[in-house]
């Protein structure tokens, strides 16, 4: 038997893909304390446990809400649908939120939203560092250059769109309490890094739309013009100031984004 076939057979045994596969006896030796099947089972158990552990670490609030047994079962099902394809185990959970949208739990339809929020936090935690721009950089454009200028945002910033109140669930679990019942409420949540710490906050709908437009490279004049209602101009400038103060903006480009 060639190396590739040996590895294929062992992989099938140790990852639970062994339905119809030859037994371990022809592949593995028995020895002190354990027979071939039991030895394969040691690896199978570690495979399941390791992937469940890494999901629990990257989705700590989800794990707290579901409890060990249910989280473990979820991890096993997810691993079957999305086996890890990246040598970095930290990337294993990147499909969990979309998978949960396709496999919604009847009692907790908000699991996917909570996972989406937690994955964004996990990514932002180790995103590339950047030196943020300041209000002075924006002021330096002058009145004439402002409208045509655009913003470039720091890498450690995400905008998460949820259909349930995932932020309230996250907050309750963070405080060590039980998760509130799922509540359907669409929201946009910004996730960013303050120093080394990850923070998130819900954005008003108008600010979320403005942020998405600015992130696409729209000129600031267009971004602010899209804001409506009394005091829109003042609110727009306050919004830009808050983006700068929170360290979201890495650079200000005088005329259109850098490509």
């Amino acid at each position: 038997m060639k190396l590739a076939e040996i590895q294929a057979r062992f992989h099938a045994l140790a990852t639970g893909d062994s339905v119809g596969a030859p037994p371990a006896a022809g592949l593995l030796r028995g020895g002190p304390g354990l027979g071939p099947d039991e030895r394969a089972a040691v690896y199978a158990g570690m495979y399941d446990a390791r992937l469940a552990d890494v999901l629990a670490a990257d989705f700590p609030r989800l794990a707290a809400m579901l409890g060990h047994e249910r989280m473990h079962g979820l991890a096993e099902a997810y691993a079957r649908a999305h086996p890890s394809d990246d040598p970095d185990i930290g990337r294993f959970g990147r499909h969990l939120a979309s998978w949960l949208r396709e496999h919604s739990a009847p009692d907790r339809p908000d699991l996917a939203d909570l996972a989406e929020l937690e994955w964004a936090r996990s990514e932002v935690l180790v995103e590339a560092d950047a030196t943020p721009a300041s209000r002075a950089d924006l002021a330096a454009l002058g009145a004439e250059g402002f409208a045509a200028a655009s913003l470039r945002f720091v890498p450690a910033l995400r905008l998460v769109r949820v259909e349930h109140d995932a932020a309230a669930v996250w907050r309750a679990l963070e405080a060590g309490g039980p998760a509130p019942p799922p509540a359907r409420r669409a929201a946009s949540i910004a996730v960013w890094r303050n120093g080394f710490d990850v923070v998130h906050a819900e954005l008003p709908a108008a600010e979320a739309a403005a942020f998405l437009a600015a992130r696409r490279g729209s000129p600031l004049g267009d971004v602010l013009a899209a804001l409506e209602g009394p005091g829109a101009a003042e609110a727009g400038f306050a919004m830009l100031a808050s983006w700068l103060d929170e360290g979201w903006v890495e650079g200000v480009s005088p005329a259109g984004p850098r490509r």
């Binding site: 190396l3 040996i6 593995l28 020895g31 040691v42 040598p87 180790v126 080394f196």
Partner: protein, 313 residues
């Protein structure tokens, strides 16, 4: 039981398998005794870093470009030599080596300038799927040629020598024909890589498979050993599990002393990756390794861990 299952194999270097450029970095840099760089200790490393011989970082934990982990590593490496220890190279897999992985590792190595780059003599991927575990190799001539060729490619890609570590195992393949210690030694001899000798793994595997741990140590070529790992295991009754969640066992300390008596001073790290204790407790365990080395070799070892000592260099 001693290692008589497989036939002995001659040390040779077949044409076409050796790397074109021999790595020049030393197999065994003089580092003393170190500890692992683990997340629960990040604040301490930033605020009052202890004095240690070296720090070992799990390579993959620092593939991400920024945030606290990279800031800590950058801070630590200013004062302390760093060893990069990978877990996902999958050197023994029949999958192609991951170019993405090698790019990330090479980039990290350029940034960190590590004293040692290591991974495991194992495989952990198949059909493009990563299992994030250290699965044992079938010890055959085919495996040997396969691993040697891949080590050569990795060393060329990184422009440096790597060390490969023996793993704890819970299964042996019926088709294996070469004792593990001979396989490991031969990989090192043919590829030019060094050996990261995990003494705990030798002990765990010896108990799990019934071979003689002392014979294993005696078969390892001293000149190829660049680093030693120690760790704690869990006794599951039917087998020992390499859990890295406990102090080093007394039998493993005995084996370590035996190894040091044969090898001389070797950079040694105590791994503790689950139920991670305080950094001071970890430093105590590392200091114990330094003390064992001093007992065996009869002279003051090179820089050892000093619990609670603020580094002022």
């Amino acid at each position: 039981m001693t290692g008589t299952r497989g036939r002995r194999i001659a040390t040779r270097e077949p044409a076409g398998l050796a790397p074109r450029t021999r790595p020049v970095n030393p197999i065994r840099p003089s580092l003393g005794h170190g500890v692992g760089l683990r997340a629960p200790h990040y604040a301490r490393w930033l605020e009052t870093p202890p004095r240690v011989g070296f720090v070992e970082a799990v390579s993959e934990n620092f593939f991400a470009p920024g945030g606290r982990p990279m800031a800590v590593l950058e801070r630590v490496r200013r004062d302390v030599p760093v060893a990069l220890h990978g877990v996902s190279l999958s050197i023994g897999s029949t999958d192609p080596l991951s170019e993405t992985y090698l790019d990330r590792l090479a980039s990290l190595a350029r940034q960190v300038d590590p004293a040692i780059v290591s991974d495991h003599l194992c495989w952990g991927s198949h059909g493009g799927r990563y299992v994030h575990d250290l699965w044992p190799m079938p010890f055959t001539e085919e495996s040997l040629a396969h691993v040697v060729a891949r080590v050569g490619r990795v060393q060329e890609r990184l422009g440096r020598r790597i060390l490969l570590e023996n793993v704890s195992s819970y299964a042996e393949f019926t088709l294996s024909t070469i004792p593990e210690w001979e396989f490991l030694s031969e990989v090192a001899a043919r590829s030019g890589c060094g050996i990261l000798l995990d003494v705990n793994n030798v002990y765990v595997s010896a108990r799990n498979h019934g071979f003689d741990a002392h014979a294993y140590l005696a078969a390892i070529p001293p000149e190829r050993v660049g680093q030693i790992h120690l760790a704690g295991f869990s006794d599951r009754g039917t087998h020992l599990l390499d859990t890295h969640d406990a102090p080093v066992a007394s039998d493993v300390w005995d084996l370590y002393r035996e190894a040091i008596a044969r090898l001389g001073p070797v950079p040694t790290l105590v791994e503790w990756d689950d139920h991670i204790p305080t950094l001071d407790r970890l430093l105590e365990e590392s200091a114990r390794a330094a003390e064992a080395e001093r007992e065996v070799l009869g002279s003051a070892p090179v820089p050892a861990a000093r619990p609670g000592k603020v580094h002022t260099a």
